[in-house]
């Protein structure tokens, strides 16, 4: 019983981490219709920048802030300079963002080398909490808490505030929203950079659990892609449930049938797509 509780908490914390990355992808894909594969780089670079900052300042919080702000700036810059020009041209977006993914991944490999790096959790959370007869790292528990707070915050922001209303209006009908004096380009840039910020923060948050390694940007991007497809593009609820589902499947898969663990992630996605091509909570298209 305790083993299952521990497994469940592991899956939950991993799923929460995946959620933080997927939010940005689902928002840019579903709301802005921009395919941004560079999202994986935001995560990986966020992790590395967090690592450097923590090594210099010794503060985990500073690492989170630097990673988030730097990736927000990077996201804003790529959106304004590159993606904005190709808003209706998906193939161009794919090639552009993939090129940037290669470029940034290779630069990271050049700077931080080929060995995997991890971040030490903050002192306060370095211990473990007893659960039944077992110990569970308190860092992972804190991560679950933070993720849930972010999820609730985002939901309130998008569904219950005037700002969220503007975002949803800009997505549904950009021209009409513009006519109603919503600054659509600004709203879209804001959503884009928010997604990049969350991915950067997730990079540092994932440092003690997943760590940073070359190719980590691709791995996380693919998981996030599956989650976004599963949950339906543009749906926060879908991203949350999808991330938890993938977190559970991946955690069980890795320990029970490692040879087919990746297959186990993609199989339910294929199954759901057969039944609901728009994803669990996606709008019909």
């Amino acid at each position: 019983m305790t083993v299952w509780a521990i497994q469940g908490l592991n899956a939950l914390s991993y799923g929460i981490l995946l959620y933080l990355v997927s939010v940005g992808l689902t928002l840019t894909l579903g709301l802005l219709r921009i395919i941004n594969l560079t999202h994986g780089s935001y995560y990986l670079l966020g992790g590395y920048l967090g690592l450097v900052t923590i090594e210099v300042t010794g503060s985990f919080l500073a690492g989170l802030c630097v990673a988030g702000v730097a990736m927000m700036a990077l996201g804003l810059a790529t959106e304004r300079l590159l993606f904005r020009r190709y808003s209706d041209n998906e193939p161009a977006q794919v090639l552009l963002s993939l090129g940037l993914l290669f470029l940034l991944g290779d630069i990271a490999l050049g700077i931080w080398g080929g060995t995997a790096r991890t971040i030490r959790p903050p002192e306060l959370l370095a211990g473990a909490v007893p659960i039944g007869s077992q110990q569970f790292p308190s860092y992972r528990l804190a991560l679950i808490g933070v993720g849930l707070l972010v999820a609730i915050g985002l939901w309130i922001l998008l569904e219950r505030t005037r700002l969220g209303l503007m975002v949803r209006a800009a997505v549904d009908d950009p021209e009409l929203a513009q006519a109603m004096r919503v600054n659509v380009p600004l709203v879209m840039a804001g959503v884009f950079s928010l997604g990049a910020l969350l991915a950067g923060v997730a990079g540092t948050l994932g440092g003690p659990i997943v760590g940073m390694y070359p190719g980590g940007d691709f791995d996380i991007l693919l998981l996030a892609t599956v989650i976004v497809i599963l949950g339906g593009m543009g749906s926060l609820r879908g991203a949350f449930l999808g991330a938890l589902l993938i977190g559970i499947i991946d955690t069980i898969g890795r320990s029970s049938f490692p040879e087919l663990s990746l297959f186990a992630i993609f199989a339910p996605m294929a199954a759901i797509l057969v039944l609901r091509p728009q994803g669990l909570f996606g709008r019909a298209f």
Partner: protein, 335 residues
């Protein structure tokens, strides 16, 4: 005039088959690689340029066929004909299944779906170590025995000639497909789906067939690749390969049959020479992606044309030109 054209084509074919054989063996191998990837890129262009389906997981079929040949040769028996037939049949079956799933979606969704489906295949090859060799791949796939032909596959010049002959046959078939009424209907679907439905075309079936053809030719390229390279690894199934093919098509010009050949030539040569001089060639490759989109979104040929004509280019990127649209309309009328 027709005779001149045929003589010209024949000479061109002979040049492709025998031209590079005078090069040093090292460059003969490079030329073999270029032809294999050119065929792969052309197969993707059938989907992307002609049918307007932006597949982002085309390497699934390329790598699946390559793995098929490798597994059959190493695990069952070293028989070329059986290995190739089994592998291509399996590739077609995979494509038949994937097509049923992915063709339910359009646009962005189609791209993400094809990507995810390709990742399933990649994931299996990468993790199922006991069967596929995991990330080490399948090493030491022997070159095939081409005994009825006067060619020895172990010899790089002979293998080049073999590849070139297959390449030319495949190109001819692709040419016939794109010039047929079927090819015209694909372009019609790309340009105006609703109109094609109204005209009574079974749009889904046409897309599905295009998908199968594209997968089959990607499979042929994969088979050649497995024999040429002697080792197949998960990277041949990965998004990196799919993206490379995408770049080749866009660089050469989507919707033209010979553009992707040119794109493959440029990308393979660049990759080759850049990787000699620097370890950071992935970064350079990334830059090439970005520069391609910024400078030559409709292919190099069009970019050069634009440069010399000083004409304002049409703003919609990656869109077909008017004369091509006129051509498919004419072809459809003729039916």
């Amino acid at each position: 005039m027709l005779l001149v054209r045929w003589v010209f084509l024949l000479l061109l074919a002979l040049l492709v088959v025998f031209g590079p054989t005078i090069l040093p063996p090292y460059y003969v191998n490079l030329a073999t690689r270029v032809l294999i990837f050119a065929l792969f890129a052309m197969s993707l262009d059938l989907l992307l340029g002609y049918t307007g389906l932006w597949s982002f997981g085309h390497a699934a079929f390329f790598g699946f066929a390559a793995y098929g040949v490798g597994l059959f040769t190493l695990r069952v028996q070293n028989n070329v004909i059986l290995a190739v037939l089994t592998s291509l049949t399996a590739t077609l079956l995979l494509a038949a299944l994937f097509g049923l799933l992915s063709l339910r979606a359009r646009g962005v969704y189609f791209m993400m779906l094809t990507l995810a489906l390709a990742q399933v295949v990649w994931g299996v090859a990468f993790k199922w170590r006991s069967f596929t060799g995991g990330d080490d791949g399948l090493p030491a796939i022997p070159r095939p025995d081409l005994s009825p032909l006067p060619l020895k596959a172990a010899n790089s010049v002979d293998f080049y000639i073999f590849t070139a002959v297959i390449f030319i046959i495949a190109v001819s078939i692709l040419f016939l497909i794109t010039r047929s009424p079927f090819g015209a209907s694909l372009e019609g679907i790309r340009e105006h789906e609703t109109r094609m439905i109204v005209l009574g075309y079974n749009v889904w079936l046409h897309r599905y067939l295009a998908h199968l053809f594209a997968a089959l030719f990607a499979g042929v390229a994969g088979v050649l690749f497995a024999y040429h390279n002697g080792i197949v690894s998960p990277i041949d199934l990965s998004v990196v390969r799919s993206a490379e093919a995408l770049l080749m098509v866009v660089l050469g010009g989507a919707g033209t049959l010979f553009g992707p050949v040119f794109g493959a030539l440029v990308v393979e040569l660049l990759k080759h020479f850049v990787s000699i001089y620097t370890e950071r060639w992935l970064a350079i490759l990334g830059l090439i992606y970005v520069i391609t989109v910024l400078v030559a979104p409709n292919g190099i040929y069009e970019a050069i044309q634009r440069l010399f004509r000083f004409r304002v280019a049409p703003s919609s990127n990656l869109a077909p030109s008017d004369h091509r649209m006129r051509r498919w309309i004419l072809l459809l009328r003729r039916r």
